[in-house]
Subunit: 550 residues, 2 copies
């Protein structure tokens, strides 16, 4: 598996197996005498409930709380396939500095030994061809473009470890992981060869013929083969390039002196959608919008005319968007776990209520639904906030301010290369005016029938967005929000394409030109939540495009 | 003198003396066989005209044009007091890499030897006390605060080379340099001592008594004394800190291993104005506004009723703002060279027309005036654009878009720590919408009866603004513009204080809170240049505050 995937396969859920704690953020450290679980504030309660008393909870970022109790000189073993080389190097350095401690890469994962035959098998699903009529470019052409970049990157080859990059490069898709249509593999692209390291059982005859000219080797063979390659590299003086999420194991196999770890050039190539992909995004969002408009219509009907508020919880309705999406052409499934939450639960950012603690829907409370679909021609991600009764003046004011931020970002025209760091305040200003804000980024890239979160671009306060300025063909979500503890949440999210508007002038003199966002999401924004007195004429004009009739 | 001052004294104008070229940007390289002048595009013409044929013009940033012709292995001599240590180290490294070339620090400046007795003397003006009723804090308290920061900076002392930092630290001002009320000096602050290196002839008895408890030593004595100090430092293991504009000579005197060059903590302390300084800025801007309103009134009268368009050039009127300012209480002089330009000349950014190439004023053309004053209680910087006839629809549209950007930045409320990098797009968006822009930053800090340009904060695309987020008490200009080659320029500049607004909420939970800009400039914005159809209600409300009656 690749280090740093957003979602993992059941066979890789080692922390939940060994500790019981299945939150999305946590790090287990097991020593001869103790077992500690480090996690963040959002999971303190859940982790304590799920773990037995063998485990000590280590609260991250809480002043005065111990976050580390390893004696100086401790040698810590780790499975080097499960962390990036930067993480490995950094941890090793920290331990080295503490009384000659060390981080030791171990050959066999100790949790897997305990897990034994109970461990779910690694997924064996077949991969399938992502037709060029959706991908817009043959994998041969993509490989040519990757190689064309080698000179300026001063390298003779690239180790590809990110699963979405591999899927993109070969125009293949899989189903090894929930939501992300990827498959377990590694790839090595050199000037002479392209090798796909993959469990060969996943390849049917169609895919084999699609991969003509590309070497296929067993998944784990990469470690040995990189080792062999390293002897050649020592002579050539030119280092191989590995993407930043290449595991420590891969880098060690190559020899740390033979590889430079940096941004993968594929991340940037993949982020720039071609005309076919851009059109696919437009098309799939029309179908996605039909499904979601159906969903909110169905929900309103259930609540207002079918007594839904007496029997339907947030979790009960959360499967409905998937059901309605699957009825649309080209839909493959959801692009992430639907967030469906009402009232106080909707104030918990990006957290879906769980069965058991889910609230009944309520016409007197705000309802937030964040969901998306995977389609053969694109990936969607949309959030809408609805109120099926009479929202309060304050709820409407907050909603309108979130909307103003959304519109300001959507309408922005800016020189090519402007970063999402610099544009982020546009979405926050109407909230900042009252001393309010939201504690999440404003936007992320969206894959093309690939991961719903992809980089390198993004809108928010992360410094790494600075070096990933917008370019024509990128995708980005626009999702400002507002979350009032114990009361309600609001989020308005569209998926957008980064396109060239027709500007009267071009002050860049043709160097990049100007860009703007083209929203492709087709789901109505609820009118009754808007206080139009807070909108100016430009905002009202924008709004005419996409409000609901209610 | 300090390396990297924005303005220099006549005795330091070595490049104009040796070459004849007196533009603000240029680097002369004299070898045994050649003399080369490197400069930027704005100065190609002027440099060629001013220099004789012994000089070769080296055009910077012009593709294909030679920018460097030193043979490999060349040893280049340089006066190490005239460049920063970072520049020295970088140049040395570049030369070292080219066939064992080298940068050699020379003891005596070779230009000064040629200049001989013709060289103007170093200014001997007396320094004077900047009264605590204007400074708002005694120099003893400032020194205590500087020392209080030593522990977290892991240092035992600070070498202060920036002239405005020295003036601020000791509550002293001088007149050694045009526009900046500073004086030539160095300072050394250690835990035990404070030493001011200054020509003692500059100190009268008042200042001597003001400096009680502070050692004063001759200006050039610092080099020898830092050399002696370096022997102690080798034992203490703790490096001294020097500000980034400390000269290479200072760093070499200390020994490069004994000093770390970094942001001077005084730059940040100085940027955070105390209540007395903030109030002084407000007060001096009232008087400054009166002077500038008088100026534009006078100008309008001359042009419309006195035939001024037949006899007054841009340069003729450029002294008038200074004259009117000097009539105001506490005015010491101008804070920079007034820019007064009309029509096509106003399209040349930040460049004042010269006598001889100056145009007559014209009621049919846009007029831009960028000027400022030094007052005992503060420093001002204001730009206004006026049209004394009938501006075209396009001029009005551009002016209104610049104004919209100005208003957007002025009205912004944002969390403490937000950087001027992130706020910069607010000022540009209305121009970006048409594919237009301006090629300068949007704002800079302003000193308190000190340099009109000060850091570390600023609004613009420079990455170094990222680490200098806004804090309460900073100052900043708000100066978007638009410049149409060959036609006209527009700039609307206010000086602002960074203050805490009353927000309904505080999402930061008291950690910094929210900030906004309080414009203190009191000079009317001309109404006839505004196309009000382009303004929304909020912008119109803002405007009521500060438009002219015409």
């Amino acid at each position: 598996m690749s280090a740093n995937s957003e979602y993992v396969a059941p066979c890789d859920e080692r922390r939940p197996f060994i500790s019981g704690f299945d939150g999305s953020a946590g790090c287990a450290v097991i020593t001869l005498n103790a077992a500690s679980m480090f996690t963040d504030g959002q999971y303190f309660l859940q982790a304590r409930q799920q773990m037995d008393d063998n485990w000590t909870l280590m609260k991250r970022r809480l002043p005065g709380y111990p976050t580390d109790h390893l004696p100086a000189g401790t040698h810590v073993g780790i499975d080097p396939t499960l962390l990036s080389s930067a993480e490995g190097t950094s941890l090793k350095k920290t331990l080295n500095a503490r009384g000659n401690g060390d981080l030791v890469a171990i050959e066999e994962n100790l949790v897997d030994i305990v897990w034994g035959s109970q461990r779910p098998p690694r997924p064996q699903d077949k991969v399938f061809i992502h037709d060029a009529k959706y991908a817009g470019e043959s994998h041969a052409d993509k490989i040519t473009r990757v190689r064309a970049g080698f000179e300026s990157l001063d390298t003779d080859g690239l180790v590809v470890a990110a699963l979405d990059e591999i899927a993109w490069l070969f125009n293949l898709r899989g189903s090894d992981i929930d939501y992300n249509p990827v498959f377990f593999a590694y790839a090595l692209v050199t000037k002479a060869d392209v090798t796909l390291y993959i469990d060969e059982a996943k390849l049917d005859s169609n895919v084999r013929s699609h991969l003509q000219g590309i070497k296929t080797r067993p998944y784990s063979a990469i470690f040995g083969e990189l080792g062999e390659l390293s002897t050649t590299l020592v002579q050539s003086k030119r280092k191989l390039l590995a993407g930043q999420n290449a595991s420590w194991a891969l880098v060690k196999a190559l020899g740390e002196d033979n590889v430079k770890v940096n941004k993968s050039p594929i991340a940037m190539l993949k982020s720039l959608k071609n005309p076919t992909e851009l059109d696919g995004m437009r098309q799939c969002h029309i179908r996605d919008g039909a499904a979601m408009a159906n969903y909110f219509g169905w929900l309103e009907h259930e609540l207002l005319f079918n007594g839904g508020h007496l029997r339907l919880s947030e979790v009960d309705v959360a499967d409905k968007p998937e059901e309605l999406r699957r009825a649309q052409k080209h839909c493959v499934g959801p692009s992430f776990d639907t967030i469906s939450s009402v009232g106080p639960n909707s104030a918990i950012i990006h957290c879906s209520p769980k069965r058991g603690s889910d609230a009944l829907l309520d016409v007197n409370k705000m309802y937030v639904c964040d969901s998306g679909g995977q389609y053969l021609d694109g990936t969607t991600d949309v959030t809408r906030t609805y109120h099926f009764g009479t929202p309060s003046a304050w709820e409407r004011e907050c909603f309108t301010r979130v909307l103003k931020g959304h519109i300001a970002l959507d309408r922005a025209v800016f020189p090519s290369g402007t970063s999402g760091y610099a544009l982020d305040p546009l979405a926050r200003l109407p909230l900042w005016e009252l001393g309010l804000d939201y504690r999440h980024g404003t936007g992320h890239g969206v894959g093309s029938f690939l991961n719903v979160h992809e980089g390198p671009q993004g809108v928010g306060m992360r410094m790494n967005y600075l070096s990933a300025g917008f370019q024509h063909g990128m995708t980005i979500t626009n999702e400002p929000g507002y979350y009032e503890d114990g009361s309600f949440g609001i989020c308005i999210e569209n998926t957008c394409l980064v396109v060239k508007p027709e500007t009267k002038f071009d002050y860049t003199g043709g160097v990049g030109g100007y860009l703007t966002f083209e929203p492709v999401t087709m789901v109505p924004i609820q009118k009754k939540l808007i206080r139009s007195g807070l909108l100016n004429e430009d905002e009202k004009k924008w709004l005419k495009r996409e409000t609901s009739p209610i």
